[in-house]
């Protein structure tokens, strides 16, 4: 069992506060991903859990035990670094055995644990090699192996895949998922790559400027972003934001006048949250929900800027009324050309409305 609890955790470097009060519960066997733009404090938060940085205020509990002052090795955590950080002068076996040897495990145990980890990661034939004789992917496996042998309560990953090439990254991503299944250990994973976050996580923690923006299952965050930041951060290409003015507020429904003059009646669950007729709002809609005009509740006219062909799909960038760019996902067979005049349609039920404070209505 391993639960990690953060209570009002802050971290300051000198006068600069980089973590501004984080409350988080990470449950047993959970795979939690911290995601956010660079400089949002996600790596710092991970390092606070690891014990590589001191917590300025607040509490860190691992299995109910206060760990603020504990040494990294006493916290029962293992960490995988972005740069692998393998000891260059030791063989793979020695790298993986280092922690156990320091903990004075007997030789048979060390041998057994290392071989078991090597078997799980399929690096048994590499055990006698030195790190410099390994490829990037193999090094990353050894770094993970070094974490596994210590049999930690919590695995911490700091952008472990960002030094790998695209193909290898996809492969390692799948292996990490499998590893999580197999080991059944709590894992905390930091990345700036939202695809990694979406595919790996049980729960995603979106961070921005030292604060938690939203916590939830990947699809929950994707479908119900709490604010403009989360809505814009998850999804590629990002969600379209269209400025509009609220026209009529009725229970369960908010009518927005779009730049071209078309009204759009968006169903809202949470009530109007202070949005009244005349309030400026932002309508968010994902590229896959920008449909052909005949299936839409409202239509925007515009000229095509660019068409990106990705093979399985294509993205059409349209400059619409109100000088906004709207991205629409289309079938690759679509025959539009740049500067052609087109109409794009919005489906009301797929739209999100954000108030002037950036929060979802």
């Amino acid at each position: 069992m391993a639960q990690v609890k953060l209570r009002g955790v802050t971290k300051s470097f000198g006068a600069v506060q980089v973590i501004k009060g984080v409350d988080l519960d990470i449950g047993h066997r959970e795979f939690v991903v911290f995601v956010g733009p660079s400089g949002c404090g996600k790596s710092t938060l991970l390092r606070l859990i690891a014990g590589l940085e001191d917590i300025t205020s607040g509490e860190l509990l691992i299995d109910g035990e206060r760990m603020n002052a504990a040494l990294p090795s006493q916290r029962g955590v293992a960490m995988v670094f972005q740069s692998y950080a393998l000891y260059p002068h030791m063989s793979v076996f020695e790298n993986m055995a280092f922690g156990l040897k320091l903990a004075k495990a007997d030789k048979a145990t060390v041998d057994e644990r290392v071989r078991q980890a090597a078997r799980i990661l399929q690096i048994e034939e590499l055990l006698q090699r030195k790190p410099r004789q390994l490829s990037g992917g193999q090094r990353q496996r050894v770094a993970i192996g070094r974490a596994i042998t210590r049999n930690p309560k919590v695995f911490l990953f700091d952008e472990p895949l960002s030094n790998l090439d695209a193909a290898l990254r996809v492969q390692m991503r799948i292996e990490l998922s499998r590893l999580h299944e197999e080991l059944g250990t709590t894992m905390v994973y930091v990345t700036h790559d939202q695809v990694e976050a979406m595919t790996l996580a049980n729960r995603i923690v979106v961070l921005n400027a030292g604060r938690v923006e939203q916590v939830g299952a990947p699809l929950e965050l994707y479908q119900h972003p709490r604010n403009l930041f989360v809505a814009g951060f998850l999804g590629s290409p990002r969600m379209n934001f269209i400025k509009g003015v609220a026209e009529a507020v009725r229970p369960g429904q908010l009518t927005v006048r779009l730049p071209g003059g078309a009204p759009l009646a968006v169903p809202v669950k949470n009530g109007s949250r202070g949005v009244q007729a005349g309030t400026e709002v932002t309508v968010g809609i994902r590229p896959e929900h920008v449909v052909a005009p005949e299936r839409a509740d409202a239509v925007l006219k515009g000229g095509v800027l660019v068409v990106e062909q990705l093979g399985a799909e294509s993205f059409m960038y349209v400059r619409t009324e109100g000088e906004q760019t709207v991205v629409a996902r289309r079938d690759p067979s679509i025959g539009v050309r740049p500067s052609e005049l087109v109409q794009v349609g919005l489906q009301a039920k797929a739209c999100h409305v954000f108030g002037p404070d950036g929060l979802a209505v």
């Binding site: 690891a50 014990g51 590589l52 040494l71 955590v77 950080a85 000891y87 280092f98 922690g99």
Partner: protein
Amino acid sequence: MGGARRIVGRAFFYLLVAAIVVYTVFPFYWAIVSSLKEGSALYRVEALPPDPAWGNYAAIFAQQNFGRNILNSVIVAASVVAISLFLSVTAAYALGRIEFRGRKLMLLTILSVSMFPQVAVLSGMFELVSWLGLYDTLGSLVLSYLILTLPFTTWVLTTFVRELPKELEEAALVDGAKPFTIIRKVFLPIMWPALATTGLLAFITAWNEFMFAITFTLSNAKRTVPVAIALISGASRFELPWGRVMAASVIVTVPLVVLVLIFQRRIVSGLTAGAVKG
């Protein structure tokens, strides 16, 4: 046209190389040749002596106890290397890795100590040596040479430690290593080229030092090689035994040349370490 210019340029280049080689190697060549001559043969100009005489080499060991001087030099230089490497490695870890108040001031102080002219510290050092009761012992030399070697070994190793990736240390911390274990098991093996370089430079400094050596030692049994060579005397005070002086010089230079050749690769990689990421 272009070809002719290239040939002239080449010729000039090799001429320059030859000049540099002659300039650097000639003194050593001259020492070897002179050491193989005895008596009036010294005053004949010859490329190579036709009948090399080894008498000078035998004489310095037979008449002077030069073996004792070499042993002294080895003891002093080796202790200086061992002590300064130990102290500077531990200092480098602290100065390179741990943030503390006055760190920069300390580094600058260390650097400025290495710039003191030796004469300036000589009298103060003499007081210290006699106060510690080390006068005319090898200990006085080890102590005073540390002043010459410690600043640059510390400085070079600090730079090297700073270049080491921080994640290595953090990985070791997470693995449960204490600071001293990190130095011993992680840093030292990686720093080995830098250690070889700085160690060798410290060795050369200690091996060649003259001023402290002649000031702090009195008896021949405590003298190191440079002093012993300077004090080699002839049969009368009007004779300077060049042959023996040269023989002694050759004997003490050879170990240095051998050491440098052995560590050649290491020195280069150590001196450029940190210049570019390896």
